[in-house]
Amino acid sequence: MSKSNQPESPPAAPEQAVYVCEDEPDLAMAIESELAGRYRVVLSETGKEAMAAASAGRALLLVMDRGLKGADGLQLVEELRGKGDRTPVLMISGMSGVNDRIAGLRAGGDDYLVKPFAMAEFSARVDALARRLSDTPRTVLIAGSLSMELIARKVRRDGREIDLLPREFKLLEYFMRRPGLLVTRKMLLNDVWNYRFQVESKFVDAHIRNLRHKLDAPGEKRLIVNLRGEGFRLDAQG
């Protein structure tokens, strides 16, 4: 269903695969079919194959359930990080407590998604992690006609300076670090506002509307587009 947010460039070397450590067969299959169009997917019920693949550099990304049959996902990730392995890990878990989330991230998870989740949400996070978007140390972000100076905190579209409030700047920065990728409302809530609770989508939408209003002068093409029912995407070609 997420063909629309398929990354423009192939994100990974073809021999690398997404290893999904999930012991619930239904969920594992749903994940496999979701990602199959874009990645090579290997299911690893106990996490063993995934650990071996990560050590051998064959894993593009690990999707790790915290509670596996006969194994603790948290412990596996800790082990992996202990060996100095930096393979991105997306933790998924039924445990939604803030402490659980912190434990997951502290163990070395790069992102933490609480079950139940929408597939689009899951997909967007996998794409972001597969591209290792968060750990690029840059001072200037460029996406199409948009440029953002992170230190001077200046944003320009085709040379025209755009005045943004601090939160709007943060919001746009999040998009510019993920050009062309699906950004869900939940990602924005979690990562831009640090909110761990559910709010209705209209509140985030209102912020996006305000941001668009500043980015798009009359007659200009819309840079942040809606992906119906899924979220938003910054149009990198814009």
Partner: protein, 453 residues
């Protein structure tokens, strides 16, 4: 209020009775000492006097006179009055003129109002009259003014003792009465806390043995109630948990099916509708799980210093764009920091739920106001609107899990949000209440009075 309570209290009345009893008892003891001492003393004197009169009566006239005058001058303390009458009854020798009216039988008697001379003050006197062999009569007398002196001394001692004694008895009574009253107040406070839903609270020991037995039983009963309620809550949580997994899987299946269905297919609409319904169910399940996890985790360990005013400002910023888009004025009054121990994520969630709720009930052109302040040392967060308000009858109802204002049925999830806010409030020792804002409603998160007040 409290003074009246104190005087009404049984312990204080007991203290008064105790003080009175102490006074009476002390008076009694003093009286007993007085009576017993004087009686023993007079009896002894009588014995000596009878003896003395016998000897005197037997002596011859001249020796007796010499001896008596010597006694009167040298031994004044033991013999005050002497009178010697001859056989015709005329006074021969002596220092009083009026013969007392007592039988001449050699027995010592106490005359309460003896006057030595006509103008003298009457005083209690021990007198003995005895016939002499020559037909005359000898009368010996001894003033008992020591008895009066003793009585005066005892009365003065008593009057000096009685005031401090009464004061001490009252003070002791007051101390115990206050102590008992404060213990009872503590117990009362604990019961109030339990009534307000803090089932982990227990009654404090009173220090009164009989009462402690009752308190112990009540606490055991509370343990049992808490255990049972915990089981009930766990049942709800477990059901929600068990329902979630299959529903999530159904959702994933439907999503896949939808993705595989070409655009324009007649199956797309019903599948999309089913997905929406499933999402509603999942929202409810997530809220149920959320509430039970907040209730059960007791996450005081994650508490740190948070500024309630800053949280309000942050949430106002978050909700402002939508409020503006809807033509609702959203104002903030949180100039002064209100630092408290708490969980920032949970507090944000609680405030967000209140603001979300206020926005739902406020029409275009209305206003929502977020306030954070400190009053009487208690942190307060208020979210008020001028929307349609909350009918009085529904005020209590609204805090019940998942209840919602009846005419808000078109607004999904109002009750869920308030339930979550209420649960978070309790965890932070805060109370969530609602008041009329005329028009509109005012939701108030207020810290409970500090313990031990």
């Amino acid at each position: 209020m409290r003074r009246v309570e104190l005087f009404r209290s049984t312990p204080l009345r007991l203290a008064f009775a105790f003080a009175l009893a102490m006074i009476l008892l002390t008076g009694g003891v003093f009286s007993f000492v007085y009576v017993a001492t004087t009686r023993a003393w007079i009896a002894q004197l009588q014995h000596v006097f009878v003896d003395e009169a016998e000897k005197a009566a037997a002596s011859d006239e001249d020796r007796l006179r010499g001896a008596l005058s010597l006694r009167l001058t040298r031994d004044f303390r033991r013999l005050n009055y002497v009178a010697l009458y001859d056989s015709s009854g005329a006074l021969v020798f002596g220092n009083f003129d009026h013969r007392p009216d007592i039988p001449v039988d050699g027995q010592a008697r106490v005359v309460d109002d003896f006057r030595a001379a006509a103008g003298a003050e009457p005083e209690p006197t021990l007198l003995v009259a005895r016939a002499r062999p020559n037909g005359g009569v000898i009368v010996l007398g001894r003033s008992l003014d020591e008895v009066a002196t003793l009585r005066r001394i005892l009365a003065r001692a008593l009057s000096f003792a009685i005031l401090p004694l009464a004061a001490a008895a009252l003070a002791i009574g007051l101390f115990f009465s206050r102590r008992t009253a404060s213990r009872i107040r503590e117990i009362h406070r604990a019961i109030e806390a339990i009534m307000q839903g803090d089932l982990r609270a227990r009654l404090p020991p009173s220090g009164i043995e009989e009462l402690d037995g009752v308190i112990g039983s009540v606490n055991l009963m509370l343990d049992e109630i808490e255990r049972l309620l915990g089981q009930l809550a766990a049942v709800g949580g477990n059901i929600a948990h068990d329902l979630r997994a299959p529903i999530v899987n159904v959702r994933a299946t439907l999503e896949q099916a939808l993705a595989a269905t070409p655009k324009g297919d007649s199956l797309r609409a019903p599948v999309q509708s089913a997905l929406r319904q499933i999402d509603r169910a999942l929202t409810t399940i997530a809220a149920l799980l959320r509430i039970s996890s907040i209730e059960n985790e007791h996450r005081h360990s994650a508490f740190c210093r948070i500024d309630l005013a800053a949280l309000c400002a942050e949430l106002q910023e978050f909700f402002l764009p939508l409020a503006q888009a809807r033509g609702i004025a959203m104002t903030l009054a949180a100039e002064t920091s209100v630092w408290r121990q708490g969980d920032a994520d949970l507090m944000r969630e609680a405030i967000a739920n209140l603001v979300d709720n206020a926005l739902k009930f406020t029409p275009r052109g209305g206003a929502v106001r977020i306030e954070a302040y400190e009053r009487d040392g208690r942190g307060v967060i208020e979210v008020s609107d001028n929307g349609r308000g909350v009918p009085v009858a529904e005020v209590q109802d609204i805090f019940r899990r998942f209840a919602r204002a009846r005419d808000g049925a078109d607004q999904p999830g109002v009750g869920i949000g308030l339930s979550i806010a209420g649960t978070i409030a309790r965890l932070h020792r805060m109370e969530l209440s609602v008041a009329d804002n005329g028009p509109g409603a005012r939701f108030i998160l207020r810290e409970q009075a500090p313990k031990g007040r």
